[in-house]
Amino acid sequence: MSAFQWTRKNLLGLRQLERVEIEHILETAKSFRDISLRSVKKVPALRGKTVANLFFEPSTRTRISFELAEKRLSADTIQISGSTSSMVKGETLKDTCRNIEALKVDIVVIRHSSSGAPHRMARHLNASVINAGDGLNEHPTQALLDMFTMMEKKGRIEGLRVSFIGDILHSRVARSNIWGLTKLGAKVTVCGPRTLIPAEIEELGVRVTTRLEEAVEDADVLNLLRIQLERQNQAFFPSIREYATAYQINTAILKKARPDVVIMHPGPVNRGIEITSDVVEGPYAVILDQVTYGLAVRMAVLFLLSGTLPETEKEDA
């Protein structure tokens, strides 16, 4: 092990992180993986610490994963969701922060529909801030768990060919993954209809294709992105059916894939749209492993941030 020492107070995105920092989180997560396999699934590492989960946007698996990770580290937790908080009464994010500060919370996990909301909070708060998804910007813990899954299944990230398929434009999961994977030396391809690929994304060091076959052919990992049905009134493609015809991962297209390909999906899965049911249940899919590993990765992030001092870092906000 290297002598690397974690110093960051916040986890706002993978864009800001150095390669060694990402590797350190993944390495630390290994130690947390087995805690959930014990009869007593709990360690006292965050005893006496308080974590606030602020979810201003709907979420099931990320919210539950964070909550469980916090509980398994023995932290005390409070849950605030958009619809039940004073935000609906018009309270600003800054005032929400002030109240959190007054309650002496140590770590704040935030999901927000505005890109940059966690960064703003980090500037106002002494507590550590973890970005659980902000607008179209980043979803760092999802990317970290995707990378952890790749490490577990493929043994490495360096040189790995990873293809993202679907709605790249609206995907903070893809963005965080691209930041992280390219830093660790993976070869990333993004694939989808032109309208769902952000302009100039090549500048991040990824290959772009609109042909599914090209993305599937020599990929070690296919990471599928959910078609965000709630956005389809904006007509990014003619119809769901047409999208499925061109970009669905099914048994037929997988005949062109490598025999050891691994299929990932951040969930929730739209069966029959971006992926067929038989592939979800099939031998290539590691979607539920991702959920399991997500817990270990989030425990690692919470643990690392709990050990840093308030004054150690503010410039990343």
Binding site: M1, Q5, W6, T28, K30, S31, F32, D34, R38, S39, V40, K42, V43, P44, A45, G48, K49, L73, F303, L304, S306, G307, T308, L309
Partner: protein, 181 residues
């Protein structure tokens, strides 16, 4: 400043571990239900050596586990660098077993307190015993070792350094006076 004192040579260390192996077997009437658990990091090679000694005497290999106590430390929230978390590997169910925890130096007892809490989270052992190469005194908790390689009266200003061939240049134990440094 006084020079470093070597208080255990390689041969003495070997004899101490052989004796500890005999004492463990004598006290537990053999190897039935017996398992060794080394506390990371230097307790692990010591546990491996005791395992080999027991194998020589009884012709049986007792199971060996590794325990990382970082997440159970009582000083995690304190100021200072965050320690690295290592992997814990217990290739057995501790319930009903006689566990011999192994560490290099017994000092304040806080590491052992953490190790006891960690062990009990894995199951309900029949008994937990403690083997250490060096007991240097200055306990802050009511903890006592069952098997001791060597008792060394020390001052708190002194540092006890256990060097093992697995991770260092030689097998030896050295006491260094830090008061003048």
């Amino acid at each position: 400043m006084t020079p470093d004192k070597k208080i255990l040579t390689s041969d003495e260390m070997k004899r101490a571990l052989t004796r500890i192996a005999h004492e463990i077997l004598e006290r537990n009437l053999g190897t039935e239900n017996l398992v060794l658990v080394g506390i990371r990091t230097r307790g692990v090679p010591l546990a491996q050596r005791i395992q080999k000694e027991i194998q020589k005497i009884e012709g049986r290999e007792v199971p060996l586990g590794l325990l990382d106590i970082t997440l159970y430390r009582d000083d995690l929230g304190e100021i200072g660098p965050l320690p690295r978390v290592g992997e814990t590997k217990l290739p057995f169910d501790p319930t009903g077993k006689i566990i011999v925890l192994t560490d290099d130096v017994l000092y304040t007892g806080r590491t052992i307190r953490a190790a006891l809490d960690a062990m009990i989270d894995f199951g309900r052992p029949k008994a937990i015993q403690l083997a250490v190469l060096i007991d240097r005194g200055h306990r802050e908790l009511p903890i006592k070792a069952d098997y001791v390689g060597k008792n060394i009266p020390t001052s708190k200003k002194e540092q006890v350094m256990v060097h093992l061939i697995e991770s260092d240049a030689a097998d030896e134990v050295i006491v260094r006076d830090r008061s003048g440094r």
